[in-house]
Amino acid sequence: MKNLTTRFLMACAAIGAATGVLLIPAFFVSFAISATVPLAYAAMAGVWLLGPVIALAVLRRPGAAVLTMLLAGIINIASPAGPSAIVTNLMVGVAMELGFLVTLYRIWRPWLFHVTALVFQTFYAISAYAYFHIDDVALAGKAGFVILLALSTVGFVQAGLIIAKRLTAAGVARGIRRPQPS
């Protein structure tokens, strides 16, 4: 609790509100396209990673991803996923946080963002397999699902890192970031 300064909380609220606003149409679109082209669903699964990646990369503090996604989930109550969006979002937030937790929040290199996201998407793909009946889809569809999921993961993580870099250049996180042990 000591580390949760009001300024850090409000920075998370700002990123979380932006993520929540972005995810409301994403939930609508994902329900619509999961109904028509399940493969396109894999292509947009990476959108959920933008928020936690930006929060972690800009604020570089433990809990940034979880907090941001919790707050984004509270905003998402208006979407068709309802408050269960909080559960979805928290799952993504916790997953992104885990990679940094196991490295004791010492490494903030881009590769760790990518690796964490890809590990999470592997677990996600396994659960989506049952949910979308992917088992019965033709082989080309299966391969497409995995490839699109991987591409969207790497793409959106990269986009998040670029946004984070520009935000840092704008100087908004000055004083929130912890001094880094080098």
Binding site: T6, M10, V37, I74, P80, P83, V137, A138, A170
Partner: protein, 244 residues
């Protein structure tokens, strides 16, 4: 009126969010037609009978699930490996099962989504889930940021226009233009967050370990009944066996 026991709005939002989750897992993992179909119907009946829905929400609740089941059934019929599931009828059946599964999860989530207020959910999370109130108030702040964002976006858009920032026409150019709004919007939001946190601390926010609330969100016997009912929905898959 709002406090009527027959209105889902009078129930505790945390209960409405958490209690349907086991049933959602059961629906998501089911492979038959009966389980998701029964859960969809039960959730829809609950919403229509006790949700007090109006206008667009009512329209979408009525039209959404059948529409989604129909579209998913057809689209999966096209995607699925027909040799493996036994021709077109098998493909359509697998599609129907998927459609029902998605709509069961969706309608169970809507029970909470259409009948609770975000602010009440946060208040209840602070009181009943023991979420630290500092985090809860960050949630309130995030909700208040949203209308501000809309205003900020308009200002940034106008500023780009007045300076003649042009990316051309068409969908690619539009995407490019919008991605140009992201960084100023987020930077503005975070600076606003800084100012809000200063204002809050100046008013003594977080000075005490606990905090009282003016508006109380009750947790009553009726919530226990609702939670029990939603948990009992997990037994839906075993019903056909019991009934014979």
């Amino acid at each position: 009126m709002i406090d009527s026991i027959l209105s889902l709005r009078s129930y505790n939002p945390v209960v409405k969010v958490l209690a349907p989750i086991p049933a959602m897992v059961v629906a998501g993992l089911s492979r038959d037609l009966w389980t998701p179909a029964a859960l969809t119907v039960i959730a829809l009946v609950m919403l229509l009978a006790f949700g007090r829905l109006r206008g667009r929400a009512l329209l979408w609740t009525l039209a959404g699930p059948p529409l989604m089941v129909a579209v998913l059934t057809l689209s999966f019929g096209v995607w699925i490996d027909r040799e493996k599931v036994g021709g077109w009828s098998g493909a359509l059946e697998a599609g129907l099962a998927t459609g029902l599964r998605v709509s069961a999860v969706l309608t169970l989530a809507l029970i909470a989504g259409l009948t609770s207020e975000g602010t009440d959910l946060v208040r209840s999370m602070i009181t009943h889930l023991r979420m630290p109130y500092r985090i809860g108030y960050a949630g309130f702040a995030a909700m208040r940021f949203v209308p501000r964002f809309r205003h900020d976006l308009e200002i940034i858009r106008l500023a780009h226009r007045v300076r003649g920032v042009s990316t051309g026409r068409g969908p690619v150019a539009t995407t490019k233009r919008y991605s140009g709004y992201v960084v100023p919007l987020l930077a503005g939001a975070m600076r606003h967050g800084d100012r809000v946190s200063l204002a809050m601390e100046a008013r003594g926010f977080g000075a005490y370990p606990a905090r009282t609330e003016r508006r109380r969100v009750p947790l009553r016997a009726r919530d226990a009944v609702l939670a029990l009912w939603l948990l009992l929905l997990c037994l839906v898959p075993t019903l056909p066996g019991v009934l014979g």
